[in-house]
Amino acid sequence: MKADKTIAKAWVKAQGRASRSRTSVITVVGLFSTFLGILQGWALARTLAAILLHDPDHVAPAICVFLLACALRTGLGVLQEIFASSASVAARRRLRHEILERILAEGPALLRRRHSSAIAATIVDRVEALEGYFARWLPASSLWLVSQWIVVAFVFWQNRQAGIILAICCASLPFFQAVFGIATAVASRRQFLAMTRLQTRFLDRVKGIATIVLSGGTEREAQALATSADDLRKRTMKVLRIAFIASATTDVAMVIALVLIVVTQSHDLLSATSESMTAKALFAVLMVPEAFASFRALSAAYQDRAHATASAEAMHDLAPMPAHEKNPSAHTLPTRTAKGVALSAEHVSYTWDPTRGPAIQNINFRLSAGETLILEGESGAGKSTLIEMLLGFINPESGRVLLGEADMNTLTPHQVSSCISWIGQKPVIFAGTIRENILFARPDASEEQILAAVKSAAVDGFLSTLPDGLDTRIGEGGFGLSGGQAQRIAIARAYLKNAPLLLLDEPTAHLDPATEAEILSSLHALSEGRTVILCSHSAQARQFHGRHLLLKQGQVAAFTGEAA
């Protein structure tokens, strides 16, 4: 935890450095704005002094200066805001890119640890939450001290006594900042946890809402949601309360400065000795809010700073930087023969969770190009773990997997995936059209290639029943498609990809016998000229001939049969 905090701090600092150039532009604009504020106050003080001491000649020019300063300052404010927004956009673009790379580098293994909605929340909300950090906090934090002390210096130059009072009041501010800042950071981290928990819970409950409703659990779930929404409110209020107190204390410090200045300057104000003395006294009074304005901007942005720390921790937690980079040029792709590619496992083991023991242990087999391996075993025997290892989602803890002659561990994920087509139990159908879902396997495929894949996978069989053919939209989870149709899309992907190794992981588990037979014969056709690994409980899968590997509690119980 302690180490995490250090990492988070370093990360936050690095973010600040990365957007330094944009921040400094905003800071410079802010400095000009401060000078204009001083000019504005000075002009107003001159105007009032001239009016009160009945010196009409000086009034009009002073009002003109006042208005000019106001107009310029407003213009700078507009510029500052636009710059801040584009700085924030640039920073968030960079950050999201970085996070996407980390998530993709971590790959499917991440899904074993994290709910997909938590990952999506990191991509969307964690980054968007930093909007204010880049747009407001960074500029405010580099500007406030300078801006404040410039104002104090000007007041001191014009009016010694008032300058000293203002300086003392301003100097007390960092103390408040420290006290309230720390508390905000802690509360904000908890608030973010509550927020993520709420989102994860909701998405999961929405996915399974039919199950909840039909088991009569709607009311219980609604109550649970109400509880976590209320938890979110309490956490948010904790953060806000601190922020409100911080701003109230700033106000108190400012009022104290005002009262002291007016009381000490009352002599100059009362006796109205000369126009310039009065103007100086008025100037000191008018400059008090200006001196505190930059600090207010800072404390208003303090939440944004806390969000940054919380986000940093979440990102680190989700996907730590990859420890080592593989060198893709060191190894060439395994050679592909007309029959497929050879594959072997040499004493591989893997453990998901040390308390539950190894999922697979000392697995050993060798397949020549074009052979078929049928993977058998009870559910929980380690078949899925072995498949994930052969897919390169996880690396063996000991032993190695050879794809052709190359150790899979030395290949890049892209090299591995270019050799393998995978069809699982339930293919993920992305939100989009059928064409896009098939093209996913090979975005640069030509129209002929798509049509060929569609034909080979018998997707064209059900296209005619759909309103827009290949361009029919299918939703998350493949709405409107039956299990068999979704599986056909997966087969079309595999045809389009045309990889030498085919991994079939319970491809017909959810299908009825008639559909299953059709899908299996399509798969059988697809397996022509490829090395195949098939994992299936189905009796019908016996039309696949080949070697059999029986797993029992993570170990090889039998490895039999010859290639057909």
Partner: protein, 561 residues
């Protein structure tokens, strides 16, 4: 994944004021708090203005009047520090309570229509609606309603004080105040009607793309298509950034315009003090008017800016109400539960949509209390439709379904569903512990019952070997279990139900042959007078059944039992 991938946004059926009215209705239980919040805000305004009015009148010396007046302005601010603190605290708290209510209301609405599936409403989009649309609505109260109420109260006071300084200057300041608080706000909201929804839409699209990426990490790696999914996210992000930038520019310009308008008011009072353009005002009244004008005009510049948020706010309200309304309310019967548990389908004809051929035609069958029956047939024959009809997930176009002689359309959904437990093909495993998945929030079940159900579902041995046993976290959709193990946990959940009727739709999916046999044998002993309807592609021969119905061409053909 590409440009054409952008989801179509259905034109909203509800119009904006209606949607806002609906939202306000949902907030009804919080009206007390919300109104109290406004009252506190009004009090804070009153305190400030009264103090200012008093201050001006009692000052004597002109010059000290300026200094002390300025001081008093700030002291008035200080007395407001406390009020303002409570106002912000209270209004925010009231707002968040109302938002929490809204979230729960939305979920309940969703649950009402959920049994029939979510279809095209992608869960990513739903999540976006729940989280960010609801969050957006806080602007409605905090940044629009509360400041607007304060502005309405401030206007006459400002006008009164400034009129004392002269008719011309008084009217000028009042006019500028109206422009700031109402005209700009109104124009901003008109403008934002057109572009306001862009940000929310772009954010929802980004969320869907991100969920596709996160959920599809396996596919992405297996197909080497990480770039495709990452590019989809990046493309959506750019759309969002574009919308945000446009909004930022408009906000900045509006802020600038409002700032200049406020300063024009200050200048007007200064001119009156100096006797330029306006008639010269006596210093004391003029200085009071100056401070009142500064305070009042500054307080409403934020309102002009908030006007630009109304488009977003109303669009969020529309989207929330739109989805809630799309779910039809099902009429609930009130008949008491009959004592008999016999299920009878009488001449039922049913199809999932109007245009398509019905899957069930004039079908009749009876499952008497305590009987076991199997319903077999190819997929698409309507086996699962029968289960859906019995649970009132769907209603037959013709014919009726009786539970113990009472038409189920006369029973409430809850009463009916307490009698029937259903293991559907899409039974969901939650990202929770095994215990949490079995209980689904119930508290009336002992561990012994849990183990018993797990035993019957042939999964108890696996659970016993887990170091954390029942408290093992099974991950998203049971991802930490194998497919067959997850299915058996779902089965145990159904067996745990006290419902006298069990409908098991393909309970043996993903089980190997031996486990399947063993499980079906257990099922023979479930007993306790419970009726069992087993839905399957085929039978293994170990099932003990009273009836076997083959479903073919929408008709049930009874086979030997």
């Amino acid at each position: 994944m590409s440009g054409s991938f952008l989801p179509k946004h259905s034109p909203s059926s509800t119009d904006a004021p209606k949607a806002l009215a609906r939202i306000l209705q949902v907030w009804k239980p919080q009206y007390g708090r919300l109104i109290t919040g406004i009252v506190i805000a009004e009090l804070a305004v009153c305190a400030g203005l009264t103090l200012m009015g008093q201050a001006g009148g009692r000052l004597t010396g002109a010059v000290i009047g300026v200094g002390a007046g300025y001081m008093l302005l700030r002291v008035a601010g200080a007395s407001q520090i406390v009020l303002r603190y409570f106002e912000r605290l209270y209004t925010h708290d009231a707002m968040f309570r109302a938002l929490a209510d809204l979230r729960v209301w939305f979920y309940r609405k969703l649950a009402r229509g959920a049994a029939a599936g979510l279809g095209f409403q992608r869960s990513g989009d739903l999540l976006s609606r729940l989280v960010s649309d609801v969050q957006t609505l806080d602007n409605l109260y905090l940044r629009i309603i509360v400041p607007m109420a304060a502005a309405i109260l401030t206007l006459p006071v400002v006008t009164f004080i400034c009129l004392k300084a002269g008719i011309g200057v008084g009217l000028t300041v009042a006019a500028l105040f109206v422009v700031l608080a109402f005209v700009f706000t109104f124009l901003g909201s008109k403008l934002s009607e057109r572009f306001g929804p862009d940000i929310l839409r772009a954010e929802a699209d980004l969320r869907v793309a991100s969920l596709d990426l996160a959920g599809g990490l396996r596919e992405a790696r297996a197909f080497g298509a990480e770039d495709v999914l990452a590019n989809a996210v990046t493309a959506r992000q750019e759309a969002l950034f574009e919308a945000q930038k446009r909004q930022a520019v408009r906000m900045a310009l509006m802020q600038g315009l409002a700032g200049l308008t406020a300063k024009a008011g200050v200048a007007a009072v200064l001119c009156a003090l100096a006797g330029i353009v306006f008639h010269q005002t006596p210093p004391i009244i003029g200085v009071t008017a100056l401070f009142v004008a500064i305070t009042a005009l500054d307080s409403v510049t934020g309102l002009s800016r908030a006007g630009l948020l109304t488009g977003q706010v109303t669009h969020a309200a529309e989207r929330i109400v739109d989805i809630a309304d799309r779910i039809p309310a099902v009429a609930q019967g009130t008949d008491p539960l009959p004592t008999s548990r016999e299920i009878r389908l009488e001449n039922v004809t049913f199809g999932w949509s109007e245009g398509r051929d019905p899957v069930l035609r004039n079908l009749s069958l009876t499952l008497r209390q305590g009987e076991r029956a199997a319903l077999i047939g190819p997929s698409g024959a309507g086996k699962s439709s029968i289960a859906a009809l019995i649970l009132k997930v769907a209603a037959p176009q013709q014919g009726r379904i009786l539970l113990g002689g009472t038409d189920i359309s006369h029973l409430s959904d809850d009463a009916l569903r307490s009698q029937v437990a259903w293991l559907s093909q899409s039974s969901h495993l939650f990202d929770d512990t095994i215990r949490g998945n079995l209980l689904l929030g119930r508290t009336d079940i002992t561990d012994a019952d849990l183990w018993d159900a797990l035993d019957k579902a042939r999964i108890a041995d696996v659970v016993r070997e887990l170091p954390e046993g029942l408290d093992t976290w099974i991950g998203e959709s049971g991802s930490k279990l194998s497919g067959g193990q997850g299915r058996r946990v779902a089965l145990a959940r159904v067996l745990l139900s006290k419902a006298p009727i069990l409908i098991l739709d393909e309970p043996a999916t993903g089980l190997d042959a031996d486990t399947e046999r063993a499980f079906l044998q257990t099922l023979n002993e479930v007993g306790d007078g419970r009726s069992v309807l087993l839905i399957a592609h085929r039978l293994t021969g170990v099932e003990r059944l009273d009836h076997v119905w083959c479903l073919d061409n929408g008709q049930a053909v009874s086979r030997s039992s």
